[in-house]
């Protein structure tokens, strides 16, 4: 009980760091110097460093800030609670794993691979030192087979031996991540379970719908292939619903067949970018609702992290836009302050 009170107070204190639309609009008008000062991004102002290197350093700093908050939040938690949040945070370690595998499969230079790896805290770090030290692809696959990711090693071997694109492999890593998140969320009971079902369910609904639309209508996957890549959500897009949606033939049919409230949320959407934007809003609203009204400290902590990650990701988009010298209108689309079609239409 005391832990819950402490955790809830911690989350409430941290949530003052979240950015609202007004603050984002102010930031969108700020210079790189102001952004660097406000968010402690010293790397942004380093002279004589390539833009790509500065961008990577900024991304690394923002991720470090997010993970430092994760570390603060898990401190008073029990082992299962901690496990859930660490599973959520393991996505960054999985980025590293994908980078390593892709880098080795395409025989990139060690230093080039290293440059693209995130420096993560020990609690989230994968045992990828052995993967990193692998000197050829068969060795990498053997190391992978001895790791907790032994199940994806077979896919990796197939990618290597049949010269296929590593898409299936990376999809398998994402799938395992989502399935583990759902499994951990389902361990809880009572107040926690209900709030987590909404939150993790919202997360999965968003991912499943985007993956489904992308696989079926952008990549031209068959219903079977598309369904296989999805992880049933504990909320709206459960297994039977996904089977039904995957079997539909057009983009509009899928949107029309969505359950409420997704059907209203996505009414009139004509393309995947718009779906992505609105589903982002859907998850954002769900997370804000949990953060504002749930009594579960755990669910509120996860909601905070989801919102904070989104904020930092928008901030990174803003900084990248500035570094690349993109027009202000385009940057504002990138950080969800303007509708996507406006500048394109104007340009046309």
């Amino acid at each position: 009980m005391r832990t819950q009170a402490y955790l809830n107070t911690r989350v409430t204190a941290l949530s003052t760091r979240l950015l609202d639309r007004q603050q984002m609009q102010t930031l969108a008008q700020s210079s790189l110097g102001t952004l660097a000062e406000r968010f402690g991004l010293d790397a942004l102002l380093e002279d004589g460093v390539a833009k790509a290197a500065r961008s990577r350093a900024v991304e690394q700093t923002l991720i470090r800030a997010l993970l430092a908050e994760l570390a603060i939040l898990i401190r008073p938690m029990s082992a299962p609670e901690r496990g859930l949040l660490l599973t959520w945070g393991s996505k960054f370690a999985l980025f590293n794993l994908k980078t390593l595998i892709r880098g080795k499969l395409y025989q990139l230079d060690q230093s080039e691979i290293r440059e693209h790896l995130y420096d993560l805290p020990a609690v989230l770090r994968l045992p990828n030192q052995a993967l990193f030290q692998a000197e050829n692809v068969p060795e990498l696959l053997r190391v992978l087979e001895r790791s907790p990711y032994s199940l994806i090693a077979r896919q990796a071997r197939e990618v290597y031996e049949q010269q296929r694109d590593p898409f299936a492999l990376e999809a398998a890593i994402d799938q395992r991540y989502c399935a583990e998140l759902v499994r951990r969320a389902q361990q809880f009971q009572g107040e926690d379970a209900l709030a987590l079902q909404q939150l993790v369910g919202g997360l999965l609904d968003r991912l499943d719908l985007l993956w489904l639309l992308r696989f079926r209508f952008s990549y031209g996957f068959s219903p079977s292939e598309a369904f296989y890549q999805l992880v049933p959500s504990p909320k709206l897009l459960h297994r039977e619903r996904l089977l039904q949606l995957a079997n539909l033939e057009t983009f509009d049919q899928v949107l029309d067949a969505l359950p409420s409230p997704l059907d209203q949320t996505l009414a009139g959407c004509g393309n995947l970018i718009e779906v992505q934007r609105r589903m982002g809003g859907y998850l954002d609203a769900e997370a804000r609702r949990v953060l504002g009204s749930s009594r579960s400290g755990l669910a509120r902590a996860l909601a905070y992290l989801i919102l904070r990650e989104n904020d930092l990701s928008l901030l990174f988009s803003l900084i990248q836009g500035r570094l690349l010298g993109l027009p202000q209108a385009l940057i504002e689309i990138g950080i969800d302050l303007a509708e996507p079609h406006c500048p394109m239409d104007t340009a046309a």
């Binding site: 000197e135 050829n136 068969p138 197939e158 299936a168 398998a172 068959s222 219903p223 079977s224 292939e225």
Partner: protein, 632 residues
């Protein structure tokens, strides 16, 4: 301990590292130097090269069992070029070795596959169907028989359903599920192939000839034959690997030597900073070793250098390493002390006192000549397994034997041996008095050590007024004085009472001044702390009664065993005495050990031992272990 700062020319760094490693008296200090100009890390490239070479050698060692570092006949500097050449040599060797590893993996895979096939066929054996049909697709039906990771089954089932197929999961083995997928032939087939690949589906081919010869015994024979072929392949590969190892044995040995010689410079790397041709490295050196170190550097370095040594500053004290006790007899006790912590630099190392008091208390609580001999003999018999702890067992056994002689106890019998002193069970009050006296002595010693340790770090206030400081000790002695008066039947005594009140007043006054809180809270805290001091010292002294209690308990348990034994015939008597002694040895021996550790850690260490230091681990060369060849 002295803080050493060595200024050398950058070119001389590898030689300086080697010289420092030879002296085995330099503990690196990785703190960055105060001079801002010294910001370069000259050994970074060397270290990366070393780490890559080391990783390659370690990977080869996993395959061909290199045992430890080899002898180093001569000490020489390994320069960057030599290290790079070794790294290149190891790269080539590892590329070759990696192919062997891949070969073994393929054989493992094939064997696993045969096991799965055997399991599948055993499962099909009871079915009244023509298995040959499962191998060939029919005009209308499509069959897939195989295994998938268990966690993929549910999604695969849904995916094949969308392609108008059905999935039957007929067997689960470990993480794998055996499945049959059936559906109509047609355009869905291509889709399914892609899904099956994503699900890591592995087809289990139904062996040729199954339709003509469905006898399970014949099928098992075929699989066994295939298994034997794989065994043969493994044998051949092992022999080829042995030849490869034999061919490259000298090169690998030489690579090991090179890496050993390069290791000191790499270990020192985080402690080295440089600017231009000048490099500085810092560390801790025992005061007695400074002259030898200076001499070694003079003999080894060709270019000028400067070694400055100074005493540690007070703010550096927590960083100074402490040298562990070296005496062989004390090693097992040092391991137990280390479980609690490592003495801070300047603190008294409690190991000798710990060893002495431990043996005294264990022996007095578990005094029996026979049982002590059993403990000592067991420790001797299992000395290889016990590592450094075997000596601990021997000493504990000997202590138990010594007290057994004093008590006149042999495997619980008190009539066989004449007691050199007294039997505890016949003098319980005397034993309790002695235990109390021992407790007082133990606590006074602990307080004196606490005072010394604080004075050693110039914490005078702590030594006087802190927990278990001089005022506490004075209070305790006054309490003991008064207690003795009461025990003699007199009053507590005016002088001890005055001393008790004065010391308690001093402690309360000190606590009052130290506290930053409202008056009410201060009153409460000071009152509780003062009360705790009184209760604490009394209860801590009484805690030592367990030393006597366990010596009585030991004798009482033995009496119980012998009483039971006397109720039986000769055979029963012998069996009961043996089993009873085993019971006493295991159960009581274990409890006594725990109780002694508790007294040491709680009543002793918590008073005077901070345990937050760190151990002196000097730079040294690993050598003296030879390379052994695989399979020999």
């Amino acid at each position: 301990m002295k803080h050493a700062r060595l200024l050398v020319m950058t070119d001389d760094l590898p030689q300086a590292s080697l010289a420092l490693a030879q002296t085995e008296s330099f503990h690196p200090d990785p703190r960055p130097p105060e001079a801002q100009a010294l910001s370069e890390a000259p050994g970074r490239g060397y270290r990366e090269l070393y780490q890559q070479a080391r990783s390659r050698l370690d990977k080869i060692a996993r395959l061909v069992e290199l045992e430890g570092p080899p002898d180093l006949p001569t000490l020489r500097v390994v320069d960057h070029a030599e290290l790079a050449a070794t790294n290149q040599e190891l790269a080539t060797r590892w590329e070759e070795a990696s192919r062997f590893e891949e070969g073994f993996r393929r054989i493992d895979d094939a064997e696993r596959f045969i096991r799965d096939q055997a399991a599948a066929l055993a499962n099909f054996a009871d079915l009244k169907i023509d298995l040959g049909t499962l191998r060939n697709k029919t005009r209308f039906l499509d069959f897939y028989v195989g295994i998938v990771p268990r966690e993929n089954v549910s999604r695969l089932e849904g995916a094949v359903r969308l392609a108008d197929h059905l999935l039957f999961n007929y067997l689960q083995r470990g993480d794998s599920a055996h499945v049959i997928i059936v559906g109509p032939r047609g355009e869905q087939e291509a889709q399914l192939q892609s899904v099956l690949a994503s699900a890591a589906f592995q087809a289990l081919p139904i062996p040729q000839g199954l339709d003509e010869d469905a006898d399970p015994a014949h099928q098992r024979e075929r699989l066994a034959q295939r298994q034997a072929e794989l065994e043969q392949q493994r044998q051949t590969l092992t022999e080829t690997l042995a030849d490869w190892r034999h061919t490259h044995q000298d090169a690998l040995l030489e690579a090991q030597r090179t890496l050993l010689l390069a290791e000191p410079f790499v270990t020192l790397d985080p402690s080295i900073r440089s600017t231009g041709h000048l490099a500085v490295l810092a560390g801790w050196v025992p005061a007695r070793a400074v002259v030898a170190l200076q001499q070694r550097l003079q003999d080894s370095l060709s270019l000028p250098f400067q070694l400055d040594c100074r005493d540690p500053r007070p703010d550096e004290r927590p960083l100074v390493p402490s040298v562990p006790v070296r005496a062989r007899l004390l090693q097992p006790f040092a391991l137990l002390v280390k479980q609690y912590g490592i003495p801070q630099y300047g603190e008294v190392d409690p190991t000798p006192l710990f060893a002495l008091t431990f043996l005294f208390m264990f022996g007095s609580m578990f005094g029996d000549l026979g049982q002590g001999a059993v403990i000592a003999l067991l420790a001797w018999a299992f000395r290889r397994r016990l590592g450094r702890f075997w000596l601990f067992g021997i000493l504990a056994g000997l202590s138990s034997m010594l007290f057994g002689l004093l008590y006149g106890s042999l495997f619980g019998y008190e009539e066989i041996l004449p007691a050199l002193w007294k039997s505890p069970i016949h003098h319980p009050i005397l034993m309790l008095k002695l235990a109390l006296g021992y407790g007082v002595l133990f606590l006074v010693t602990a307080c004196l050590l606490a005072i010394y340790n604080r004075l050693a770090v110039k914490n005078v206030a702590g030594a006087l007024f802190g927990h278990h400081g001089a005022i506490n000790l004075l209070f305790y002695l006054a309490l003991v004085w008064g207690g003795l008066n009461l025990a003699r039947g007199d009053d507590f005594g005016a002088a001890p009472l005055a001393l008790v009140l004065a010391t308690l007043g001093a402690l309360a006054g000190y606590a009052w001044r130290q506290l930053q809180a409202p008056v009410g809270e201060k009153v409460l805290v000071v009152f509780i702390e003062t009360l705790e001091t009184i209760i604490g010292y009394i209860s801590n002294t009484l805690s030592f009664l367990r030393v006597a209690a366990f010596s009585l308990n030991h004798a009482a348990l033995s009496i119980a065993v012998l009483t039971l034994a006397n109720m039986m015939g000769t055979t029963g008597h012998v069996i009961t005495v043996i089993l009873g002694n085993v019971f006493v040895l295991v159960l009581e021996g274990g409890i006594v050990m725990i109780q002694v550790m508790r007294l040491q850690y709680y009543e002793g260490f918590s008073r005077y031992f901070s345990g937050d230091g760190h151990e002196f681990t000097p730079l040294r060369l690993r050598r003296g272990v030879r390379l052994t060849t695989h399979g020999t």
